[in-house]
Every structure is written in C-alpha cells, then in structure tokens.
Symmetry: D2
Subunit: 337 residues, 4 copies
C-alpha cells in the first residue's frame, strides 16, 4: 500500500509512520516529492493496519495496491472456476439458464412451470420458499412446504434446484432440500449468513447487493470461500441509481470486470434488475453477448395472479421463444445455451 | 391507488382491470382522458394486489396514493414518539448523545472512554461486540466478552448501553445484556432480524441502509413495530452516492422528511457517514440545528491504535469541546443537549 | 394528472384546487378516499401548471399521467425514425458503427485511422475538434483546424463525419464542415446549445447526461425537435453511480426503454462509459444483442501517445477483429452491421 | 503520481514506463513488491501524461497523489478568500443570505419581494432572467427585461444583484447589469461559459453540478480562476441520488470538505436541493451550523402563482421568521447573519 502524507506533515510524523509500518512487518520505501511525501509499504495486506495508520498525525490518505480479496481473485487462481450444480456446470462454455417463478405458490403451478421451463431448455429450477419482502404485510413464502414442492419438482424434471435462504437458523434445513443456496441482494453483507452458507458445503449463488461495489461483492464471495466453499456463482441483478424507468440499473459492465479480476462464474438476472418482463428478452440477449455464464429468469404461468413480482415474469411461451433466440446469440459469441 | 392504462388499452382491458379490482374489494372510479384512461381504486392498500394488477394486459403503471407503512406513519399516530432507554428519553426536547468506540477492545480502554464521554455529557454508551466487517480477515468483535464489558461500564457510569446485533441467533443473548439493540445499515432489510429485534421487547436503534430510501427505512421500522415493539429510533448514517470525498453522503434532509411522515425519533451518525473525524464536529452541529433528536458519535482514546474505524473517531478531549459547542447550537433551536 | 390532497386537507382547499384547475382549462374528477382525496385533471399537460398547483394549501403531491415530451414520444409518432447521415441510415436494420479517435491530433494520424476504420466496416467517422476537458490545463482540441482535417478525411474515405460542438457561437461553423453535430454528455441540458443545434438543420447525436434520467434525455431531444429538427439520434454513454471499477455505469436497459417510449434511434458508447478498452469488445456485443441501433467506438493508432482518452481506445487491429465478431452477433438478432 | 503495474507486467514493460516517465520530465522511484511493482513519479502533474501512461502495456492503474486543481486549492493559498459583491463580503464572519424569487415575473412583484427580503436582512438579491428549463414548453424568463427590473430593484433597495447566465453570447450583457454572475448546476461543466464568466471580471456564483464530485466542482472553479478571476463562490445545491423524497440530496458534508481543500467560500441552496419549502427552514439552520458562509433562498410573494419553482419558495413572512432563527444559530457557531 501507499501512504500519502499531507503537505504539512513534519519529518517526525513521517518517521513515526515508517516506524509503525516496520513494527507491523512492512518494508517501507519513502519517496520525497516536492509537495508531499509518500511511503510505499510492502507486505501482506491487512485491512486493520490500513485503518490504524490512516488516523496517525500527518497521514492524508492510504492507497491500497493489492485487491482486498485473495481467494476470489484471479491473482491467486488464474483458471476459471466451474461450479457444478447437479449435472450442470456453471462457468463452462454452455451458458446456464436458471428459470422458475419468484415465489412457490402451490404444487400444481410450480410443477407445471418446472416442466415447461425444462422443455424450453432451462438447466436449473428456481423458486422462493422464504421471501424477503419489503412490507411485513406481504406474502412471506411457504417456507418448508415450499422446499418440499421444489424437491418434488426436481424428482419429476431431473433438474437441480436453487432457492434463497434468509436466516442463519434455516441454512441447514434449506441445504438438506436444495442443490444450491441463494444469498439475496439484501443479505449480500449479512456476513453470518455468508459464513453459514459457506459451511453448508452447497454451491452458493451470491447476488450483488443493491448498492455494492464489485469489490465488496467479491469480498462477500471471499467470506463464503474462506468458510471452506469454493463453489460460488456471482449474480449481477442491478444496482440502485437515480434512474426510475427500470427498478434498478443492470450493470452489464460487471461481467467483463468480474472476468478480469476473479475466477468465479457470473450470471445475470434481467428480471429483478429491470422489474418488467418487457425488457427481459433484450437484456438476456445482451447479457449472453457480453459474456455472462448464464441467466436467472422469472417465469410464471399467470403473471397477473402471481403472489410476488408478477410484472417481471415471462409467460412460459415467451420464455420458450427467448430460449431459441438466446441459442443464436450464444453461438455468435462461441458458446451454447 | 391509481391504475394508469396504456394509450393502446382496449375497453375490454379496462373493464377487466375494474372487475379484478372489485373482486379484491376496491371501489373503482375510472377517468377517461383524451389519451389515457386512469382508474382510481379506493380500499385498503395491499402491495400484492398492486403487483398482480400491474401485470394485467393494458396496464401501464400503478401509482400508490397511500404510504405503504402504517404503524410508523404520522397519518396513524400524530404525536411524536418518545423512546425511553434507561432514564434517557429520545425524541424529547433534550437532544441525546450516544458515544463510545466503534468496537470494544478491552475492559480498561472501554471503561476509561465510557467515563470520559459521561463526563462530557453523553447520555448513552455505544460499543460494538459483534462487528459486521467487509473483510473476513478483519477483527470481528469480542462477542459475549464485549457485552460483559459493556454491562460493567453501565454499572460504573450509570449510563444505558446500546450495541449491534447481527444474527437472529444472538438476539436473546444481546438483549439480556443491553438496554437498546442496534440494527446496522447492512441489516436494515434483514427482515428476520428485524422481527426478532422487535420481539425482544428492547428499544431498537434502526440505522438506514446504505442505499435505502426513506420509505424503505420506514418500512423496516414497520417490521419492528408490527412485531409488537413501538420503541424504534431511526438513525441516518449516510447513503451511497458517487461522491468519494466522504465515505458516504450524510442526508440531513432525511431529518425534516422523517419528521413530516413519521412519529418516530431520528438521530444522526456523523462518524460513519463521513468516515473522518475531521468532519464530525461540523456535521454534528448541522444535525442538531436541522432538528435531529440526537447524535451517535465515535470516541476512542487512541484512534491510531483502534482495531476498527479509528480514522472516524474523535479523541475524548475533542469530544468534550464538541459537546460544549453543541450545547449552544441546541439552545439556538430551542432544545438542550 | 392526478392531484393528491393531504389527509388534513379541508373541503375548502379541495374546492380551491378544483376551481384553479378549471380556470386553467382542465376537466376535474375528484375521488374521495377514506383517508385522502385525489383529483383527476384532464387536459393538455403544462408543466408550469403542475408547479403552481403543487404549492396550493392542502396539496400533498402531483402525479403526472402523460409523459412530458411529445415530439420525441411514440404516443405521437409510432413509426421508428430513421436518421440519414450522408448515405448512412441510423435506426434501420443495419446497425451503424461510428469510429475514430477521441481528439483529432494531426492530419496524418487522423486520415490513417479513418482509412483503417473504414476498411474494417465503420460507417461514420468521429473525432473531436473542440474538447470539453475537466481540467483547464488539458489539451482543448485543434478547433477549426481539426474540422478541416475531418473534412479532408471525408473526401478520402467517403464516410460522413460527426463531431462535438460545445458553444452556441460555434454551431454555424461546425455545421458548415460536418454531417452530424454531437451534443456531449456535459451539455445535454445546455438548452441554448440544443436549440442552436436543432436550428442548424444537421442531424444531432445527443449523448445522455452523466446523471440524466431517460425522461430528461428525451426532453433534451424534445428541445432539438421543437427547434424544427427531427433528426435526433440518442447515445447511451454511461451514468454516474457509486461503482468505481468502470468510469461510469453503462445502462443498457436504456435501449429497450427508449425503444418503448420513443421513435428515435439509440446507439451506445462503450468507450466513454467504461473508460477502458478492455471492456469495449464485450459491451459492444452486449449492446448490439440488446437491440442498439449502433455503436460509437474510440479507435486510436497508438493509444499510449493519444492526447486524450488513450486508455479507452482500441487499436485498429483490435477494432477490426471486433467488427467481425459484431457481424455474428448482429445476425443472431436479425440485423447486419 | 503512482503507477501500479499489473502482476503479469514484465521487466521490459516496467522499464518502458520508467523511460517514458523520464522523457516526460518525471523522476521515478520503482518499488518492487512481492506481487506487483509500483513506480512513484515525481514532477509537475499533467493529466494528459496520466492518460497516455495508463494505456501502456503492463500498467494496471495510476493513482494521482496531487489534487488536479491548483489555484482553487488550499495547498497554494491557505488564507480564506473573501469575495466582495457590492458592499457584501462572502467568506467573512457574517454569513450572507441571498434571497428572491426563482424567476423575475414583473416589476411590481420583484420590487415588492426585494424590499421585503431586504427588510428581513437579506444581503443580496437573486432572480432569474434566463431560465434553463427542462421542458422547451416552460417559461424561459424575461431575458433583458428581467435584468432591467433587477437593476431597478438594486437602485431601490441598495442591495447587489446576482442572476444566472446560460449562454456565452449573453455574458457581456448580463455582466453589464448585475453584480455577480451565477453559473447554474446544469452548466457547471460548460467550460466555455466558465471561461467567459471568468473573463467578465464579475464575481461568479458557481453551483455544483447535479452529479459532480467535489473535485470536479473545484476543477470548474479552476477554469474561472485561470481565466483571471479569483472571485468565485461555490454553492452546494444537492446532488442526484436514488432518494426521491426530496428533489436532490443536499450534501452538507461538502461544506467542511471544501473548507479543508479550498480557500473559496461556500454557500448552500436549501430551496433547489429539497424542492420543497417545508424543508428549507430546517436545512438553512443546518447549513449555517455546519459552517456554510451563506445561503441562497427562494422567496416568492405568492408561491402558488409563481411561474417557476413555486413549491420550493418561502413566503416573505416565513422568510422573515427564518432570518431571526438563523441569527441565533449563527451566534451559536461564532458568526453573525
């Protein structure tokens, strides 16, 4: 890291910072500029050190040189990670489509839509049994009953299932039913939940927080990996900006940025990010062409009767058309779907 | 709510929407404009209905008229809520100052700073025993040992204590030690934690999420209140914007906005929002003059040895000077400190 | 529009609002809810009226129902606009690629890169003669000498040219040299410049402002069109968010949103939005797959000698490869490049 | 500046960067870390160099150490600048209040409100003769007729006048009438207008752009100062965020940040930032307590007949009450009003 001293820093203050850095095990290289002095510090990066030095007299700023994440970083592991969920491989040349309704509402409707999305080419089933809802008065999910319905749909379709977990107390139960755990955007920095999900041994689908930087997102992945679980798939789902035409702003630039800095696969959620089925098709194609390793798309047989997020759900027939179109786009960028 | 039909909506689509609204128990009032038809729907607002109608053919948009929160709203309760924490009353004419270090590091340092901030006029002690840290490699807090230290500091100073809880599994334990539970910014939409905190019966200090709108924040308060606990204090702690000169952008406008729409007290955190002790004094004064019901300020005896957030911590002597200055500002706006 | 009265509004206040609306030529339809009254107002939308009513006693909020733009709107003109620039048609089935260096630096380098991008399949040449630079000490462009170089490159390549105009006093001069005027992001709400550009009669390439909503962007287009010039091409170039891994956040959702609400063509700038040539290829493909009508890409023969924005410029050989890849993506979504 | 080389950078690439830096006149200091090499470069900062080096092979990032602005910086000039407008001194111990309506609508109404705000203690009159309006169909101002009315109000009240200029072609005319030129938020990076305003010799009130960082804002001030005009007053007027309860988010942290990094005075606009008169009083007091050198407040005799921004305008009697309250707050922080 680089410590930038203020123009008014005294020689004594500079020496104190160097001494402290040495005590912390850094080798130091001061550079005396015309206006400011900067000190290069070589050694293992520890965030706490950064903070304690930043509050020393005469220190203006600290510039980290190394990324704060290690296990999630391409600096450490250059080969692309492939995460296996059932028979499905996320991060490989075949782009993976995860599909299903926002919430599980009943056995019939879920199994019906599960069959249809499988028919259209989806590789993994999604569905919410525990719903984190903005309003305490909204439908909160079928909980374990929902998990059972998902498990039956897996039996019928042969597709693996992914569902969100929202409470550390539920991790074991949810992991016993499903093939992949989803950490939702609102829980991206629920660090205890990240640790439990990591410890469960199941692959983790880690959604980006609504206002998380890519670096913070990779730090959240670091929590999961450092709990012993390398199988993390990142999911870009839109960030919060001033624009109101869409629910959030889908940040497709995150795809090549994550590819540059991390070995983890990244998929894209065009449904939650836009909040409207009208934009799902265009942005699904855009995501695959940009290089995403897959998509997670909401499909509901009857969106205007959905208990949750109907407006952003595709009908099964529209999803089927989209899957065909995605096939062409995938081929154009050297992949399959 | 108002349902806006698209310019291309057919008469049949309009009728279908009206019929559905009637089934859901709304009275409907269509207004036929030159380009678009809108339908006024009167009845109890339920968010799920909004969603299901939004996905009906011909519907362009839905405009809610009522606020989504009720129990947190001034529409329901016009009298300002006063939350009692020990002998301290938050929301009353005396502005309340909560002070202490970011993390609890040792008995000696905590008790020492606790005495000093009491001496300077603080009303409640803060301190972190469970720290939600961005990096898995950072200090995560002393946990129960930290709670014990806080409890001893309460004995010595007579001041009530507030600390953050980060996991549903810890709520009971933390509530057994402290006088007020803090829900941190990253957990503002950890709905399970909100419910547990609400159910604990302890007053709750609810920090605004990094990218939460004021409406979502009040909805989070609604979760706590609807779990049977009216004693919620809101804490503005900065929102995430493009500006990088400060860690976050302190939104002091939230103070009069919350006062308009809610009966809950609101305090301000100038330490976390700015990330630098240099700006704490100016913004503390600004917050009190704007009408905040109090402040939560980080104070550490030796910021460049702090294990967490040293750069934003005031030294006890600077805090003492600030408290005197705040006294004058409080009087200027008809309060005390 | 819908006027929402506050819960405390008196009958007299409601009557006053209705009376004022009638005076302004609106037909009114009050709906008396259990808590709030809302008034539907039918008539030609005028923004000034909105403002004056919003400040009447008892009025809580005003909800516009009609979009504020007309000439730029699909409500008025449903057929997609095709803008002709020289022989090139923007908005048609062939996606148009505009390419060239950020700034014009010399005759030799510009003509050389112009020939190369033409060879690779670009349809229009770009280049900056007037550069709006953040620092007053940065290179500000060759001005009229740059325009002359561009005009010569047009002679040599046969490709039309587009360049930015930054001052109302320069519009006539710039329009006399080039085939299309660019309004930069920083000038998107320089309304005088919009009017002059509109009055010039030349097609206008209108970049989205760094923090402009799509609605404000279409209002800026409305300024140009209302000055008598229908030939407006919108250009998405990234918006400002908290994310720092890219210079701005490219908002590809804007492509389908603009297609829904406006008849104007929309192209995408992956160079300025990301600020790094490393991400240009991925996002160019993403933009075409999402449905953009074209791209504007920076190409420089020797980026590390560029006087401006070198880091985001592709070398001509990389651009050539990208053009081939874009051809496949375009075909996959039913277009050509 | 510090050049960060990528972990894969070869020795040859590192040498090339060093050689280029030397050619550009920098002294270089390489630091070889375990994973990455960084190169410290000492010399006069030139932004163009930064850009050209950033695109060299093996370079990962460049970290500027010096601020990009000089003339606006406290590094260069440590004494607080005081800007004189008529007899009024902005930046001195007396906080300055600028007041008046958003737009000038008629002689009678303007002179009437001018007298009232003077009576209440305002020091400078504001008013818009050229209005930059989002819609081309909105009232655009009385132009020179408005300037004449303002000049007459100055004669009558003895107060200096400030008004916005929106076009380089108008600067001379506007400067011939008024005592201070305002550059609006939408024109903060209209660099030609900044230069002309600087060259006019009149003091300049420079509003912060809607999405401008504090650094970019100071760079805009640098444009004015480098045109020979030191008399720049900064005006914080809210930035664009995701929050919709207020029109923009007033960033009061900007006050102490600007005070730290610049010698220029800074005032605050609570009217445009919030968009509602209801919040003006609270935030005016907050701004003064935070250390702002003044305020600019909209006052209109009859807000619900205002042609522009009525909802955010105070009535003269409310303004009068506010001025008294501000007096107490100013005293509490060691100033007067």
């Amino acid at each position: 890291m680089i410590i930038v001293m203020s123009p008014q820093a005294t020689r004594e203050q500079i020496d104190n910072v160097e001494r402290k850095l040495s005590q912390l095990g850094y080798r130091t290289h001061p550079i005396y500029g015309d206006v400011k002095t900067v000190i290069g510090a070589i050694g293992e990066k520890r965030l706490e050190d950064t903070q304690s030095i930043l509050s020393m007299p005469g220190v203006e700023n600290i510039v980290p040189i190394m990324k704060p994440y290690k296990l999630a970083s391409r600096e450490l592991k250059q080969i692309q990670t492939i995460v296996k969920v059932g028979n499905c491989r996320i991060g490989d040349s075949k782009a993976v489509v995860i599909a299903g309704p926002c919430a599980i509402e009943s056995y019939e409707s879920y199994v019906s839509v599960a069959k249809q999305v499988k028919e259209s080419g989806a590789s993994i089933l999604r569905g919410g049994a525990y719903k984190p809802r903005t309003s305490p008065y909204s439908f909160q999910g079928l909980e374990e009953d929902g998990l059972k319905i998902m498990a039956e749909a897996r039996e019928i379709t042969g597709l693996p299932i992914v569902t969100e977990v929202v409470d550390t107390r539920d991790v074991e139960l949810v992991a016993s039913y499903c093939d992949m755990l989803q950490i939702g955007a609102r829980n991206m920095q629920n660090f205890r939940l990240l640790r439990e999900a990591g410890a469960s041994g199941k692959p983790v689908l880690l959604k980006r927080g609504l206002s998380a930087t890519i670096e913070e997102w990779l730090m959240a992945a670091e929590y999961v990996i450092s709990s012993g679980n390398q199988n993390v798939v990142l999911c870009e789902r839109g960030i919060r900006t001033f624009e109101t035409a869409t629910r959030n702003t889908l940040d497709l630039s995150a795809v090549p940025v994550v590819k540059e800095f991390s070995h983890l696969p990244i998929i894209v959620d065009p449904s939650h990010s836009t909040g409207s089925w009208k934009y799902v098709s265009a942005l699904s194609k855009g995501a695959i062409a940009t290089g995403a390793d897959g998509l997670i798309i909401e499909v509901h047989p009857d969106p205007n009767c959905a208990m949750c997020d109907g407006p952003q759900s595709l009908k099964p027939n529209k999803f089927s058309v989209l899957m065909q179109e995605l096939g062409s786009v995938a081929i154009a960028v050297g992949r399959t779907i």
